[in-house]
Subunit: 155 residues, 2 copies
Amino acid sequence: MQWREYSTSNCGIARGLDVIGRPWALMVIRELFLGVRRFDDMLARLGASRPVLAARLRELVDDGIVRRVPYREPGHRQRHEYRLTDKGLELYPILTALREWGDRHAIDSEPSVVIRHRDCGAAVSTVLRCADGHGDLTVRDVRAEPGPGARLRTA
Amino acid sequence: MQWREYSTSNCGIARGLDVIGRPWALMVIRELFLGVRRFDDMLARLGASRPVLAARLRELVDDGIVRRVPYREPGHRQRHEYRLTDKGLELYPILTALREWGDRHAIDSEPSVVIRHRDCGAAVSTVLRCADGHGDLTVRDVRAEPGPGARLRTA
DNA sequence: CAGTATCCGGTGCGATACTG
DNA sequence: CAGTATCGCACCGGATACTG
């Protein structure tokens, strides 16, 4: 397959990175998956600056990844916490695959977080599977081809 | 689970992003997975500037994701092409999960690339699976807990 | 506690030109 | 074809201070 004359403009990877590829974005999303929902809690764990965290959260809300949810603790005035939308929850495989790779190749010690099946406690991982159920695939078992939305390069 | 007092320094996601989180890095890796291996071919498809592409490739080589492979075409002098190392090939689930999400949520048209099982031609996707084989899981079926390398926050 | 406003410094990036 | 060298700008991000 030669890709030279195909456009890369409507690539899901590129467009996905427009949304979650900014600095701190995936870190914020990781926090939300871990259940950290308050601004100052994220701030302390992330180490990002206030304006940057605020900007990322606002962008993620604009992109439909995160929603602001009002809440009120007794004796305090109303505040907001942040939660993932369904669209945001679907980012989980990306996070998991990235964590898996990073734990294996990019950290020196043991993993700091493990993901387990809620029911049985066994470790959870991401696998490649074909729609016909042919077990676990590796990159060598697959091929890429132009999809229905493929466009030719104009320039 | 409360994560407030746990450190985020040895997180696989954070450390993984140190390597593949830079602008253009995943785009370069996408090209390599598609089989685009020559500098100027990537340059034309990516739209990045020469210095940036050169810098990313050098960093990816330094990080063990990419290797430079010498080749010679008849009548030309020796040149180099770029290929993924095994460590780089293991990034495939991340790319696939990101493509899946981006194709579903971040592009307007149909997907520009589809991934198929080489043997049967069926579509390939990433799924979450527990080590005990309990089928496909969603984020609601899993829980995160501190791993063996978890550290308490010092500050 | 949860942000916003402002300023300022570094640097990453593209444009361009040059070299093997 | 495959880079490297140089330059200048834009922008991003941290620090700080202020507000609801």
